[in-house]
């Protein structure tokens, strides 16, 4: 039993293979080879959606991805639920389940249609002018309701379970589009020996030949297609990809394709990727992307059953579907005559064939006349009537003097075919940064000067590629007796933009096509204006009384068609989203219950909770343990750079603020690196290991940046220096032992180094062995306690950690994480670059002016540091804050006000950069940047919160052991 609108024969279907499918809960039958759109039409289903804003009933308009109306959701299971698919692109398979969108409770009775009744109040840009009062109502009431009232599909609730592949490919010639021009180009190139890749977004290659018109070189279109495909298949150097959309033309002939691998299958194999992204680098690109049929702009042009004329012909020839039984045709192009003749031959009654042109000569109109079709020239369309399907159209006549006379009667029909001509598909050409030119004769934009090695062939090249296709056409609104016309004449179907909306934008003062586009949203929907851009431009130009090329066109950007996130992400999802860097001691930390935090790409242990401890309890315990006895900390992630060469000291002298030439071997110094704009860029301890060898450390996150800056200056500014830079971050494992008993713990395990205070003073470095492993031992402290950092080759890190841990049990040693590390250093007022600095803080601001080497002629940032603006006393300076209520821990990032009780907006004098509860001190501490902070010591300031404010006193940022005596243990 065949579907009601299916022809008894014809089409490129496997009629014997019936497929069951469901749409909005109802079951239907289609054939293998159908799309969802063709199968619905075959079953007489014309209402397929509700429009975005007005919820007007909509039907299928086109036969390809340019269709603006038939957006559906296809559901395989709870995880595979894809909204906003174009029904004309969805290949039918047995068991397909699809539903319409943007309607409630049903497509036939959609409550949202009330928007159409109130459309006076909802023109383009209404949200800029209405729903303003009361202000609070916007967030809670208006915005959620407006968002719920309009839209496309619903986002799937579950993560996408499918996987997606990615592939790179190279070829001599990439041909985009497998219509007649593309096939001919691919065959010629392949015969010439080139390595050819041919792609087409349709399931079958052939393009317009799938619904053939004229013969090619005397050969019937379908036969020519069959022969050409066979010849291409026989050539080993020709690869053909169907279901593959070229969606982005990137620089240097890199074209991105997405191949739909399994979406058309009833039972996709589990191992197959759903889609495959191809990144193709081609020596030459041939664009054969064809042309898109243009609709006509007249009131009521959006009822279901009103479709593009050549699209109706494609539905007949390719899918064996009759778009209607009583068909009215309105056209400005001969193509509609072919459609009318063929539909007539298939049994439809052509009730009217209205031509906008004054005369219709040529082979196709002649054939229509011979078939006895009711042709009238100098005609126009005025309005339509119908509910969920077009029922009648009123036509009119345009007199010689331009006056339009309405027929005064309805022409009854169940389908209207409209054809305003064709627009070359120049999107990829334009993406390639090729220039478009306006062809005044053909009234279309055509490819002109190419920016890359590509050429356009066939219909997408304009009249040069397809002379007859652009002979006539229509742009902008149809002639109408009333001005302004009553009733909605749609220009952009998907975003519900009418000709009146464009007029409104221009009346409101928008002149640039980019503004008109954004204000009305024309061309901004998922179809990206494929059927609307040129008409919108024409209407805007006409109202602005300027030429179309003078108004210009909007920018074409990728993707040409919607592309799934999955295909772009490929395998980089979940755990594979970013590389993960782990230290050699990671497994031990995991085994001891560490909670980790990401620092850049590194995983660092943040704290080591015992039992049911939360973060605060664990950190308090870890900090107390360090200050009472000894703690151990994994410092392996900090950047390490070996600076080696006869000019190593000179290099560092020019780069860091400090003096280095006077640093003896075996000693280290706290180094600060600026950018040339004078702001702190990074910091770290720099050790001199030999006259020509320095071991530079950086912050964890800053390591790549610092090395890059070093290479920049070395290679481009001071290439005469004999210096080599090597990153050794991953080559050394670093274990910090901090606390008054650190030396007691370490000394017995060390050979070859005397750790006593005189032999290894603070900031000294020595080489020897620790637990039998060759080591570099730094006496250095980021906690203010006696401390050592043991550097061993990374492969020894885990074993050494275990030995130190075992030996440390006798000292109640505690592993501590980054959170405790932060608190301990803050108690000492040590800054963390990137936390207490933000790229706008100078050394003076941070209270580190003492580090700047005296009398240095030049270093990076020196000139800027000395600018008046960077020395102003009002600048934000690093200070400490003690909250008046010691239990209150200020929120990091809080702003600071000078007086109490101020209401927003209030003048603010700084912000809190670091804030913690200090277990050893028994109160909260904070570091802050405050305007003129160092002159405000003792002043009370106020930190506003959503519920009130906290008072705090400005103090010296060194809260604990201000004289620094604990460094000696």
């Amino acid at each position: 039993m065949s579907a009601p609108a299916r022809t008894s024969a014809g089409g490129r279907l496997e009629r014997a293979r019936a497929l069951r499918f469901e749409f909005d809960g109802r079951s239907y039958q289609g054939c293998a080879g159908d799309t969802l759109a063709s199968a619905l039409l075959a079953n007489g289903v014309h209402l397929v959606g509700r429009s975005f804003k007005y919820h007007r009933p909509r039907g299928v308009m086109a036969a390809g991805p340019e269709d603006p109306n038939a957006l559906v959701t296809v559901r395989r299971d709870a995880g595979r639920y894809t909204p906003n698919l174009n029904a004309a692109q969805v290949e039918l398979y047995d068991g397909l389940v699809a539903e319409s969108q943007n309607r409630w409770p049903s497509l036939e009775f959609d409550v949202g249609r009330i928007n159409d009744k109130f459309s006076r109040f909802l023109p383009a840009g209404f949200y800029y002018k209405t729903f303003m009062w009361p202000r609070r109502a916007w967030h809670g009431l208006y915005e959620p309701r407006i968002r719920a009232a309009a839209g496309l599909g619903r986002a799937p609730p579950q993560a996408d379970p499918d996987h997606y592949a990615q592939r790179h490919a190279h070829c001599d010639v990439l041909v985009v589009g497998a219509g007649p021009a593309g096939l001919a180009a691919a065959l010629a190139a392949a015969r010439g020996g080139a390595d050819v890749l041919l792609c087409d977004e349709q399931a079958e290659l052939g393009g317009s030949l799938l619904a053939p018109g004229d013969a090619i070189d005397g050969v019937d279109g379908a036969d020519w297609l069959r022969a050409t495909l066979a010849q291409l298949a026989a050539l080993p150097n020709a690869r053909m990809l169907a279901r593959t959309t070229a969606f982005a033309y990137l620089p240097h002939n890199l074209v991105a394709l997405v191949e739909r691998v399994t979406d058309h299958l009833a039972d996709p194999p589990a191992a197959a990727p759903r889609e495959r992204l191809w990144q193709v680098r081609a020596a030459e690109v041939v664009l054969a992307t064809g042309a898109i049929e243009r609709p006509l702009v007249f009131p009521g042009n959006d009822l279901p059953g009103i479709m593009l004329a050549d699209a109706a012909r494609i539905y007949l020839k390719r899918y064996g579907v009759l778009a209607g039984s009583r068909v009215a045709v309105v056209t400005a192009h001969d193509a509609a005559y072919r459609a009318a003749v063929e539909l007539h031959a298939a049994g439809a009654q052509v009730v009217a064939l209205a031509d906008l042109r004054r005369a219709a000569d040529g082979a196709l109109p002649e054939a229509a006349r011979r078939a006895g079709l009711p042709i009238r020239t100098g005609a126009t369309a005025l309005r339509t009537r119908g509910n969920t399907r077009v029922a009648a159209i009123e036509l009119g006549t345009v007199q010689a003097d331009g006056k339009v006379v309405a027929d005064g009667r309805w022409t009854e029909c169940d389908a209207v075919l409209m054809c305003g001509g064709f627009t070359p598909t120049v999107h990829l050409f334009s993406q390639s940064r090729g220039q478009l030119a306006w062809d005044a004769q053909a009234q279309v934009f055509v490819p002109a000067a190419a920016a890359q090695n590509c050429r356009s062939v066939g219909a997408c090249a304009g009249p040069a590629g397809a002379p007859d296709l652009y002979a006539t056409g229509w742009l902008g609104e149809l002639p109408h007796p009333e001005s302004p016309t009553r009733g909605k004449a749609f220009v952009d179907w998907q975003n519900d933009v009418t000709a009146a909306d464009l007029g409104l934008a221009i009346r409101e003062g928008f002149r640039s096509i980019e503004h008109i586009k954004r204000y009305t949203t024309t061309g901004m929907a998922t179809d990206q204006g494929k059927t609307s851009n040129l008409n919108a431009l024409a209407i805007a130009a006409q109202r602005l009384q300027r030429d179309i090329p003078a108004v210009g066109h909007t920018t074409f950007r990728m993707p040409y068609l919607p592309v799934s996130f999955g295909s772009l992400a490929g395998a980089a999802r979940g755990e594979l989203f970013n590389p993960v860097r782990r230290t050699p001691m990671h497994a031990w930390a995991t085994g001891h219950g560490a909670v980790f935090e990401p620092v850049g790409l590194w995983q660092r242990a943040r704290y080591f909770p015992r039992g049911s401890e939360d973060l605060h309890a664990a950190v308090a315990r870890e900090c107390m343990a360090v200050r009472r006895s000894v703690g151990m900390f994994d410092a392996s992630t900090l950047g390490k750079i070996e600076v080696v060469g006869p000019d190593a000291a000179e290099f560092l002298e020019r780069l860091y603020v400090n003096s280095w030439k006077n640093l003896k071997s075996g000693r280290s110094r706290y180094g600060i690196l600026l950018r040339d704009d004078g702001f702190v860029f990074d910091d770290g301890v720099v050790a001199r290991l030999a006259a020509d060898r320095f071991h530079v450390t950086t912050t964890t996150g800053g390591a790549p940046r610092v090395l890059a800056l070093m290479e920049d200056y070395l290679q481009t500014e001071w290439p005469e220096l004999k210096v080599w830079l090597t990153s050794t971050t991953e080559q050394w494992a670093v274990i910090a032992l901090q606390g008054p008993r650190a030396r007691e713990l370490l000394q017995p395990l060390v050979s070859g180094i005397d750790l006593s205070p005189s032999a290894l003073p603070h900031m000294a470095v020595a080489h020897g062995q620790v637990c039998g492993v060759p080591a570099m031992v730094f006496r250095v402290s980021f906690t203010g306690e006696l401390g050592f950092e043991v550097n061993v080759p990374a492969d020894h890190g885990l074993a050494l950690w275990r030995e130190l841990w075992a030996a440390g049990r006798a000292f109640d040693i505690v592993p501590y994480g980054t959170e405790a590390m932060h608190v301990l250093r803050a108690e000492k007022g040590y800054i963390i670059v990137g936390q207490d600095t933000d790229g706008t803080v100078t050394v003076e601001d941070a209270g580190l002016g003492w580090a700047v080497g005296k009398g240095k002629p030049d270093f990076v940032g020196r000139a800027s540091m000395r600018k008046a603006a960077l020395q102003s006393p009002d600048r934000k300076q690093l200070v400490g804050l003690r909250t008046v209520d010691p239990a209150v821990v200020l929120e990091e990032g809080s702003q600071i006000a000078a007086r109490r009780g101020l209401r927003a907006p209030m003048p603010l004098i700084g912000h809190v950069t670091s804030s913690y509860h200090s277990a050893v001190l028994g109160h909260s501490i904070a570091l802050a940047l405050v305007s003129g902070g160092r002159t405000r010591l003792g002043q009370e300031v106020y930190v506003p919160t959503p519920t009130g404010e906290h008072a705090a006193t400005i103090c010296n940022p060194v809260f604990y052991d201000p004289k620094g005596t604990r460094l000696d243990g």
């Binding site: 990137l250 620089p251 240097h252 890199l254 990144q279 680098r281 940064r433 920016a451 890359q452 040339d676 704009d677 890059a708 290479e711 920049d712 290679q715 481009t716 500014e717 290439p719 002629p857 030049d858 020196r862 000139a863 800027s864 540091m865 000395r866 600018k867 008046a868």
Partner: protein, 87 residues
């Protein structure tokens, strides 16, 4: 996705490189005072060329060297690349 001709390694994908901004900026010497226009120019003024633009690239995931490229900013066509010292 530019194909950048590294003078040492040949044409490689843009992904292997990091961009180094406008080329041939002159860092003022230590004798030039802080407020001097030469410092402002070095730090903040750029040619913003429409057309051929001399810029630096570094082959970060390759030979690690800086080199110069003249690229047309309207078409992304790379006109030539050269090492320091060549012009």
């Amino acid at each position: 996705m530019l194909l950048i001709p590294c003078p040492w390694c040949g044409p490689r994908s843009e992904l292997e490189f990091s961009y180094g901004g406008q080329a041939h900026l002159v860092r003022p010497g230590p004798e030039v005072p802080p407020g001097d226009p030469a410092w402002t120019a070095y730090q903040y003024e750029r040619s913003n060329d429409r057309g051929p633009h001399a810029e630096r690239w570094r082959h970060l995931h390759g030979c690690s060297r800086f080199f110069y490229v003249v690229r047309d900013t309207t078409t992304d066509r790379i006109i030539r690349s050269y090492r320091r010292g060549e012009a």
